[in-house]
Symmetry: C2
Subunit: 516 residues, 2 copies
Amino acid sequence: MSMVENGPSRRERSGRTARREQRSHGDRGLGRPYIVRNIPTYDVLSEENLVRIEAAADRILAEIGIEFRDDPVALDHWRKAGASVEGELVRFEPGLLREVLKTAPSRFTQHARNPAKSVEIGGKSVVFSPAYGSPFVMDLDRGRRYGTIEDFQNFIKLAQSSPWLHHSGGTICEPVDVPVNKRHLDMVYAHIRYSDRPFMGSVTAESRAEESIDMARIVFGERFVDENCVILGNVNVNSPLVWDATMTTALRAYARANQAAVVVPFILGGAMGPVTNAGAIAQSLAETMAGCALTQLERPGCPVIFGNFLSSMSLRSGSPTFGTPEPAIGSMVIGQLARRLNLPLRCSGSFTTSKLPDAQAMNESTMSMLAAVHCGANFILHSAGFLDGLLSMSYEKFVMDADFCGALHTYLDGVVVDDNQLALDAFREVGPGSHFFGCAHTMANYETAFWDSSIADNEPFEKWEAAGSEDAATRANRKWKQMLADYEAPPLDEAVDEALRDFIARRKATMDDAWY
Amino acid sequence: MSMVENGPSRRERSGRTARREQRSHGDRGLGRPYIVRNIPTYDVLSEENLVRIEAAADRILAEIGIEFRDDPVALDHWRKAGASVEGELVRFEPGLLREVLKTAPSRFTQHARNPAKSVEIGGKSVVFSPAYGSPFVMDLDRGRRYGTIEDFQNFIKLAQSSPWLHHSGGTICEPVDVPVNKRHLDMVYAHIRYSDRPFMGSVTAESRAEESIDMARIVFGERFVDENCVILGNVNVNSPLVWDATMTTALRAYARANQAAVVVPFILGGAMGPVTNAGAIAQSLAETMAGCALTQLERPGCPVIFGNFLSSMSLRSGSPTFGTPEPAIGSMVIGQLARRLNLPLRCSGSFTTSKLPDAQAMNESTMSMLAAVHCGANFILHSAGFLDGLLSMSYEKFVMDADFCGALHTYLDGVVVDDNQLALDAFREVGPGSHFFGCAHTMANYETAFWDSSIADNEPFEKWEAAGSEDAATRANRKWKQMLADYEAPPLDEAVDEALRDFIARRKATMDDAWY
């Protein structure tokens, strides 16, 4: 039944020439399966101050502790590991969690059903994944409305069609027309059916996590799944300092199956954490270390991702704010801390509170996304589509963000220094006061020279005006419709498809519809 | 006649407490006179590759050379300095320019007529200055049109009113209703009359540069100007590898008066330079070193700023592109090279080719502006208002960009690590599972905790919709009108004002109107 006979082998796609060939084709060709960054991370904090933050996290863990609610197995793990367990409150001596975390791999492959699209997570790799978790969707034609399974499938198709995303994501939007207890089956099926990239499964209940993994087993084979990562589960801390059973049982389900949990605190400074950045970062470190360590107690050596979700709030209105400077600079510190733990890092990408794909949206998103790539994040969730403070998935914003992901491919290549790039022959040919338009070096390099956005309008004003004075949102609106019209589903083995549909039908037959 | 009796002394404005007090007042209070960055620069290239780029620049200078057209004084300077001069082509042995540049200061103060607003240029300082040089202006009500002296004055008033800009700029837009040969007098007067911040003078002819400096002498006194920098002149290389007499005579006029030239190549990759980034950077280094060195031959020890204007072009349409990834990452390398020369650095801020203050505009601008602050630029021209590939100055974009400059004040403060910021007491007070809204630490810190944008809308969707579903451009439109309505001119000594107007009248009386 498995598509994978001997296990997918990742096709190596390194080499600058190959990359440039891909890039030059723009949206017409394939992107890379993921980015290997060629610029260093942006390390903003001194060793001394990193140690102070780590010491603060250690004191939070030792003196205040973290509650693990309603999960006796988790408490049992902690007892055996030597933590202090009083009721549901767990306290950790400094060093305990770091010792447990030593079995976690610093990098791993998440396999895609198309082996050419498997991704590396860790080290210098950067993987862009769509936004996650919005109940609403938006487009310029229909405005804001609740998401449906059709919207969900549309966003998978858009992600699959973009050469600049690397991952199909998870709950791209909530398909609220499907009962809440059956939703995960349709979502995982849609990822497998409409995309051949890696994807994420459900975390809203232990059984849903397990069924997500079961569906992956149908695609990849049981043994392959036991030995390789093929599905991620994004689990949130109930910040501050609480892990509830929904999350820890899902986290343990992924770990038990040797699949990667993404462990993410959810800290809005001033609400779920202190209003000061250093304190929120220390809290984030404490909460994430505890969650990551729990995966290693469930199954030593299983992959896990160190997550980060810092945000701020407007203390006048009480509204959360996204894409603001404090979380952006804070992410740089989180990146340094994750590397000191030798763990792969997840950050959030294109954050904004704007309700439209307007100037505010892209100002906030660009700052947030650049922080994610600068801080060294390996897996960047919310790379495309995020609007309205995580409440809406926008069709127009999705293609704008995906286009910016394309620009970031070029950006992360850095400045290459070799004889061709230094172009001394071109200077000799052109000399002072002339131009480089037709010179040999330009002719040899122009096709691959510059990032070419498919959303930006670079035409002269008069030409732009004559063509209708369109703004970026209007162009994006046209583009997503064209992408959906042009979409072609990747091939899926019919036996696998049938087995998946059979699995879903059998699971659904055991459930009454639940709507909340 | 001078306002300045003993020379302006910069009021020290360091101290985190003072900064936070200022920031907490948002637009209602004063910003800082300039930023002292508390995060390191983002150094992306290795020592080995920096040396290779420097070696390429040295070969361009030694083997190809730079033409200095129609300026026998410049050629004479080069001859005396030991360069090879054949006709107007000047070639430089490796090391010659670096030796000449040793007399240039690594940092200096540009004095404002209000001493509290003087700026440091160099080291860790960051100074935001408005965009420069557009023939057109734009706003949502009237669309695009040629700029006038009224527009010019309006933008000075907006800059003066923003707590997040530090400099009044130069040719913010071209006032095309004033004859081209008299324009500089009205522009410099407007900077002095409507702003009390530092400003820039004319560079379009040696006489205009000198008259700009003469007007500064009326304000600051002759001796003070001879000993201190009070005016900048932004001079462009006629890339590739040509300096023309308009620019070199203006550059020498500023240097002779001990004022700072800002030396800026203008390289659109594929047109005025190679299509490859490393080559464009080597060219930029060669051209800038030559210009900076010329200031030191004119007057050793005078201040000078190492400038950078990398851009790319669409090789399909031939249009220039701005805010793209290649110049952004290239700026990081330029920053490293400038620091190796120990010179203050100018970069360009909020670049875009968009014709509207839309999503494209702020995506490109944010990437470009963040590159400028990350690369360590001390003087960031084009920090506010830039639209339409340098052709239009936008009222709405101006206030959006200025707002982002405010966010960057917070960003450049970095993550402060001290006991209050680490907030251990707050964790003790709140404990697991509660919230931080009313805790003592939040109450003590919330007023200064988070950047609070005056353009972003952070309200819930329903509240935003009920208030009219406005986009950021609409809010910005309202804001600049309010800022102009609220504008109050800073006090100006009447005798100084009269002397300036008398100088202008006398100069204009000697000129026939010239319109091109």
